[in-house]
């Protein structure tokens, strides 16, 4: 498995195991929102991001140690083509989500709903980016 595919799997897994539960808690209303500053919401977001960074940092360290140096070469043309495809896919979702969050939601929602929608759009676009990356590597493997 190419080094970049391993990194993409790691990034995808780190997002799913952290922001998956985060948005589940938000969507089910287990953590109710209060007007800003809502320190419980901020703490939940901070903890989620911290755990994601720890998973990413540890995973990258393990990958760096366990992958031979010759497999950690600069990206070649196929890596760049996959990167372009995944970035474009993620961008399309991000721009659509941001139009919803920035242009429509201010007239229909307020406060944390807008914040969560913006966060969800960003996280979903990252899932798409890494998802398309691993799918492309698998399809061409």
């Amino acid at each position: 498995m190419p080094y970049r595919e391993k990194v993409a799997w790691l990034s995808l897994a780190a997002i799913l195991v952290t922001y998956g539960p985060y948005f589940t808690l938000i969507a089910t209303g287990i953590v109710p929102t209060r007007p800003f500053p809502d320190f419980r919401q901020l703490a939940l977001f901070g903890a989620t991001t911290f755990v994601q960074l720890v998973i990413l940092g540890t995973g990258r360290l393990i990958l760096a140690v366990s992958t031979p140096r010759e497999d950690r070469t600069p990206p070649d043309e196929r890596d760049l083509a996959i990167s372009r495809l995944s970035t474009v896919s993620a961008y399309n979702l991000l721009i659509g989500g941001m139009i919803l969050v920035g242009v429509i939601m201010p007239f229909t929602s307020r406060g944390w709903d807008i914040v969560h929608a913006a966060l969800f759009t960003i996280i979903a676009s990252e899932v798409i980016r890494f998802g398309v990356t691993v799918f492309s590597y698998r399809r061409q493997a």
Binding site: D76, E77, D79
Partner: protein, 77 residues
């Protein structure tokens, strides 16, 4: 609506690697700046290289481009 000409790129990289002293995919990749996985993907027909890379591969084997890559209209068995 105009129908696109259908076909696919086939290659003889495996055969040329064999003819060049069983050159490994990694070695070929090193000589043209690609990873072993990308060479494997090209060889399996799952990734079409750029024209420049195709020329580089042919140059490594010291043969014309058409000896390595071909445009086919029907799947070959």
């Amino acid at each position: 609506m105009t129908k696109l000409v259908e076909g696919f790129i086939s290659n003889r990289i495996r055969a040329h690697r064999f003819l060049n002293g069983e050159m490994s995919q990694a070695e070929l990749g090193q000589r043209i700046g690609l990873t072993r996985q990308t060479i494997a993907a090209i060889e399996a027909g799952k990734y079409s290289p750029t024209l420049e890379t195709a020329f580089r591969i042919a140059q490594v084997f010291n043969v014309p481009l058409s000896e390595v890559f071909r445009w086919d209209t029907k799947p070959t068995t």
